[in-house]
């Protein structure tokens, strides 16, 4: 399938960029004129993925996060990548309520939210190498 449009951006792993990333992703997807509910789901999922990279990937130290959005006729693919710590046990990380940072009042719901709010979620990660999150969302429901 041929993409209709594509964008890629990179930014520092600062918590203030969580809002930046979700606003940019939603603005890009808005050109496909999806419903407000779909845009809200995308904003939330992007926020979760970027927050994970800031807190867990780079452990609140400075690093680069990249975000790519590929727009197709009927769906969008969003890829968020860091080159931080990586995830030891992906299955465990995906479990609702699992968190390695209860000290930060983390709810352990990040991946559950991404899974619930998007149509697909793939996690590629290796300790010491980083984490790549690939999510898709249907923009047109027939």
């Amino acid at each position: 399938m041929q993409p209709v449009n594509r964008m890629k951006t990179e930014f520092l792993s600062k918590s203030s960029n969580e809002a930046f990333a979700r606003v940019v992703a939603a603005s890009f997807v808005a050109q496909a004129d999806p419903s407000i509910d779909i845009l809200a789901d995308i904003r939330t999922a992007v926020s979760e993925a970027v927050t994970n990279a800031v807190i867990h990937g780079y452990e609140e130290k400075e690093g680069i996060i990249t975000m790519e959005c590929i727009l197709y006729q009927d769906h969008v693919e969003i890829i968020i990548e860091d080159h931080g710590k990586g995830i030891e046990d992906i299955e465990q990380a995906r479990m609702p309520l699992f968190t390695t940072r209860p000290d930060l009042e983390r709810s352990g719901m990040g991946f559950t939210v991404m899974e619930t709010f998007m149509d697909s979620l793939e996690i590629e990660s290796a300790p010491g190498k980083g984490t790549k999150i690939r999510m898709t969302k249907q923009l047109v429901y027939r």
């Binding site: 926020s47 930060l104 009042e105 983390r106 709810s107």
Partner: protein
Amino acid sequence: MDVRFKRDGTALIAYIEGEIDHHTSRILRERIDSKFIVEPVKNLIMDLSRVTFMDSAGIGFILGRMKKVSSIGGKMSIRNPRPEIMKMLKMSHIDSLIKLDA
């Protein structure tokens, strides 16, 4: 993000405005906790009518305040969440732990 307070008997009402994510929840947590401790109150009401975005950091933030409030024998409740905020609250089943006035 901003928060304003009002006291209603034994309850502190926190009117939160703006977006709740990992970045803003740290600031909110500090402001609410420091206000709660100096006021002669034991219950906390969070008014979310002006919250336009909340991700799972908001869930952690709400549960954290709930633990603090229940540790002194108080109760916490949430008021007026918008539909998109309600979706997050329902998903996390927080509505089974905290009184929710829609």
